[in-house]
């Protein structure tokens, strides 16, 4: 049995060199007609205020 925990972190030289995404992603979760299952609608738009989508969702307290 291998010991996964014995491995240390590997060097990641390019981490953090990317620009942010273009589209702001929003999601809305609802219950389906059967009252048991969930459905999530994903919509996208450009973030005119330049704020990361996940931060905006947290601030608005949306049903994500």
């Amino acid at each position: 049995m291998v010991n996964w925990k014995s491995i240390g972190p590997m060097k990641d030289e390019q981490a953090g060199k990317n620009e942010q995404g273009v589209y702001e992603m929003r999601k809305r979760r609802e219950l389906m007609a059967d009252g048991r299952r969930y459905i999530i609608y994903y919509t996208f738009g450009e973030d005119s205020e330049g704020m990361p989508a996940n931060r905006r969702e947290n601030e608005k307290g949306e049903d994500v």
């Binding site: 996964w4 491995i7 972190p9 273009v22 389906m32 609608y41 994903y42």
Partner: protein, 331 residues
Amino acid sequence: MSELRWNPLMGEWVATATHRQDRTFLPPADFCPLCPTAPGGFPTEIPEPTYDIVVFENRFPSLAPVPPEPAVEGTELYPVRPGQGECEVVVYTPNHNSTLADEPVERIYKLVQVWTDRFRELSALEFVKYVFIFENKGEAIGVTLHHPHGQIYAYPFVPPRVEKELAQSLNHYQEKGSCLLCDIVAEEKNDGRRVVAENDFFVAYVPFFARYPYELHIASKRHLQDLTGLGGKEQKDLAEILKQVLAAFDKLFNVSFPYMMVLHQRPSDGENYDFYHFHIEFYPPMRTATKLKFLAGSESGAGMFINDTLAEEKAAELREKIENVEWKATE
């Protein structure tokens, strides 16, 4: 009924999900459950009259967050456990007659973001140990719904094929001090004959060890373990190379090319997988314009694949079909 039964011969779980026998099978377009519900029309799974990308829990799941008790009692030799997990359907577009290959690169880019969100959310569930994102496309693969969609299975264990890949990656790291897939990507790029497409952050290639004639892998050039590590430019590059290879597949024989597409990411069981490397694998069943590759005796009974073609030649065929991708400012 749904449960997990242990196969002691192979040391792996098998899911039984008898309710799936009754799932919707190739319905006419007017009764597609993945289309938006039209006003006054047949109530589909999606009540909204239109949508961008939608994810919902599968009506006929193999695994469920609150699974039923197993139909049989286990024994010491044959353990049985509830089929706990999650099965989601990812609907790519409202357009019933489209395919992922037909969709603009902007939508594929959005899909990459949805995949990332689903991986992040499902990985956080306590009972989920592995999030498996995939698409089965085409009747040759056995799809039951033609509407363009993929699926996500969140397993309560690390599935055996991934476990084997992890073990190989770990062994390589312990022996060589380097990432196995980083070394594979370097060798494919250095050789060049099997490379199909490439951009700043990703490379697509028919692997040296291809099991299917048109098997194709897409790997990130940067060493990362899952989609959540991708930056915005990397997400766009992934969408772009996906669009290129999907379009090339369709151009090969001028048909909507069937395939299995699977995303291999790190498990979500809380362990350290820094040695592992995210990638996508395609397994298309076509070996010519009119012939399929079947998983017959050697493949199914011995696990030994026999590929009737040379990866170098198939890569060259695909490479000829690669075209540049046009981005719009907005979709």
